[in-house]
């Protein structure tokens, strides 16, 4: 079995990565509220332990696929703030030269095959990446992130069947945050989600997605087993999104109560929880944590400023990258 991360450096990196996601989202939300961001975006805040716990079990070469709620995965897989904010603002220095935006942010350099604006749309891509890696024999693992709502897409069952038949090194990570858009999961998901994966002979787990150590421990284990050819696996991670479905979803009383939101934030916040544990174990002091927070927030602010000041792509880029061997498709 792979060794779970246990040393101070590892702990602090996980803590910092969770803080980085939270800081990124807070800035993104501000950009929206101050009308500086084009379009809409979906906040990952509250779910940090999932992305970080899992991505910390991966190498930069391992692949992930992400979702419409994808900033957390992107940060956790190693992306930097500046090109991320540039992407959100449609700037030329964005990871996708501004062509993708929040819903399509990808970071090839760190193995992030991209967010996806089709719910469930990346399930085939992740499974295909796993097929590639199995063929190439490079031992790489792919993690497919998706939400509870995405389990309603038939594509998932098709690709699970193939992943199971062919023993592909893929981990399906379902972030069950209790809602898909404005609807509670119980209203749109019959039976049991883990049983659905198990029915294909896939070993399945359901864990607390707010506990970064538990997530990381399981992920380390399953990644190692995938590398040995024991995949695929399924993990349901119980978590919660703090914001609305998207940044514009402000009045949400009609589908969930303020009390429920407050309770999750108070008692089950992944960052506070891990911070408290780190202190109680004597690994860091409260000052250390404050320093990390301050530093990360300053970074995020600087990156936002940089992105706001940076240039839009030139109009001539509009027909570039339609075909990979053709500079200007319409020239």
């Amino acid at each position: 079995m792979a060794k779970a991360k246990t040393n101070t450096d590892d702990y602090l990196r996980m803590y910092r990565q969770m803080v980085r996601i939270r800081a990124f989202e807070d800035q993104a939300n501000q950009l929206y509220l101050s009308a500086k961001m084009p379009g809409l975006t979906h906040m990952y805040s509250g779910q940090e332990a999932v992305a970080v716990g899992i991505c910390e079990a991966l190498t930069p070469q391992d692949h992930i696929t992400s979702t419409h709620r994808g900033h957390g995965h992107c940060v956790a897989k190693g992306a930097e703030f500046k090109p991320m904010f540039c992407e959100l603002l449609g700037k030329a220095e964005g990871y996708c030269r501004g062509k993708g935006g929040s819903m399509h942010i990808a970071d090839q350099s760190n193995g992030n095959l991209g967010a996806n604006a089709i719910v469930g749309g990346s399930m085939g891509i992740a499974t295909g990446a796993a097929l590639s890696h199995k063929m190439l024999g490079d031992g790489q693992v792919t993690v497919c992130f998706f939400g509870d709502g995405a389990t309603a897409q038939g594509l998932w069952y098709e690709v699970m069947n193939m992943a199971a038949l062919w023993k592909l090194p893929v981990i399906y990570a379902c972030e069950n945050n209790g809602y898909s858009e404005y609807t509670r999961t119980e209203e749109i998901a019959a039976g049991s989600i883990t049983a659905r994966a198990e029915a294909f002979g896939i070993e399945s787990f359901s864990i607390d997605g707010q506990d970064v150590l538990a997530v990381n421990r399981l992920a380390q284990d399953l990644v190692a087993r995938c590398r040995k050819g024991e995949g695929p696996f399924f993990i349901e991670l119980k978590t919660y999104r703090y914001h609305g479905h998207h940044v514009g979803d402000i009045n949400r009383d009609y589908y969930r109560s303020k009390e429920e939101e407050a309770e999750w934030k108070k008692s089950r916040d992944p960052i506070t929880g891990f911070g408290t544990w780190l202190q109680s174990e004597g690994i860091v002091s409260s000052d250390d944590l404050v320093a990390i927070n301050d530093e990360v927030r300053a970074d995020a602010e600087a990156a936002v400023k940089y992105a706001l000041d940076s240039a839009y792509p030139d109009g001539s880029e509009v027909d570039m990258h339609v075909y990979s061997d053709t500079e200007h498709a319409l020239a």
Binding site: P38, S180, E181
Partner: protein, 331 residues
């Protein structure tokens, strides 16, 4: 006359038809309490209850399939497909099943269902939430395709669609949901296959669909300032297409520009232009020009996205050149 938004007009059309015919029901993602993300169906579940206003899981192929079967067996489903881009997910149920059932059964089975969805870019929603895919369904015999261009049109065409005994796909322009237009209090229907002449003119015919009707009207205004008299026609439905009205107009003006928001190549403008070029050949003083969305995936960056859709200026300039007798593409 009172003015209401396109979104209210659609809501009224649905409510009126559901009151008139109790076999009509509505289904889709978050159509009930949430009233869809665009808040179009708000209030309907309160009036008609959850058995006729049905929230579905995120299973587009599935619930469109259900609609086909329901339509075959005595009810009249109205399906809400949140974004036109999701058409790609439901093509089999729509084009292999709904479109062909009446024909394949030798006229014995009917599929009176409506798929309401949308089109239109420049909402900063990137490549998977901005497409205008009506050409695809227009290519498939057995489907009817309506493209309302205002609140008034949206209400009248949707009511007709719901009463039609064939599968109908109706595309609203999502940029227009908050646009107001005069809509009578009294009930009215708009016929399929009857184009609307929005403005009479002598020198050039501008044919615009959906979102592009306003573009054509604005272009006509610009042309008027130059002393050019433009006729503006909205086909309203592209299947059936009111060829006669279009040809009559072009035979009168001798010039035509076709404007549509689908991709330019292999799209709607090609069909209309080809028919005009063929059937009004001896009346044309100049080539028929076409404007569609640029043949690129819709980019996120505002700096790029705005370049992909035709503007009133571009249309007016092209029409003016036609009228000035400037040689296009002369060898």
């Amino acid at each position: 006359m009172r003015e209401i938004t396109l979104s209210q007009a659609v809501n009224e059309a649905i409510a009126e038809e559901m009151r008139r015919d109790e076999t009509v029901f509505l289904m889709g993602e978050d159509v009930a309490e949430a009233g869809t993300p665009f808040k179009i169906t708000s209030g309907l579940v309160e009036e008609f209850g959850t058995s006729r206003v049905i929230d579905t899981p995120i299973s587009e192929p599935g619930f469109v399939g259900l609609a086909v079967g329901a339509a075959m067996t005595g009810t009249r489903p109205l399906v809400d497909l949140m974004f036109g881009d999701f058409l790609f997910l439901v093509m089999d149920q729509l084009c292999n099943q709904a479109a062909k059932t009446h024909y394949m059964s030798g006229g014995k089975l009917k599929v009176p269902m409506v798929l309401r969805t949308n089109l239109g870019a420049t909402r900063r929603s990137a490549a998977q939430h901005s497409q205008s895919l009506h050409a695809l369904v227009a290519h498939i015999p057995g489907l009817r395709v309506a493209l309302p261009s205002s609140a008034y049109e949206a209400k009248g065409l949707l009511k007709t669609a719901i009463r039609d005994d064939n599968p109908v796909v109706i595309f609203e322009d999502k940029l227009m949901y908050q646009d107001k237009a005069p809509v009578p209090e009294e009930e009215y229907l708009l016929p399929f296959g009857q184009a609307n002449i929005l403005r009479e003119g002598r020198d050039v015919t501008l044919i615009g669909t959906s979102s592009m009707v306003q573009v054509c009207l604005k272009a006509a205004g610009l042309l008027e300032a130059q002393g050019i008299s433009a006729e503006v026609i909205d086909p309203r439905t592209i299947v059936p297409l009111d060829e006669a009205t279009i040809l009559d107009s072009v035979r009168k003006t001798s010039r035509a520009v076709v404007v549509d928001e689908g991709h330019r190549s292999y799209g709607v403008t090609a069909e209309i232009a080809a028919r005009i070029s063929e059937k009004a050949f001896y009346h044309l003083d100049a080539p028929v020009l076409r404007f569609g969305a640029m043949d690129v995936p819709v980019p996120f960056s505002p700096a790029l996205e705005d370049l992909t859709v035709a503007t009133p200026d571009q249309v007016a300039e092209a029409a003016a050149r036609l009228c000035r007798g400037e040689m296009f593409h002369a060898a």
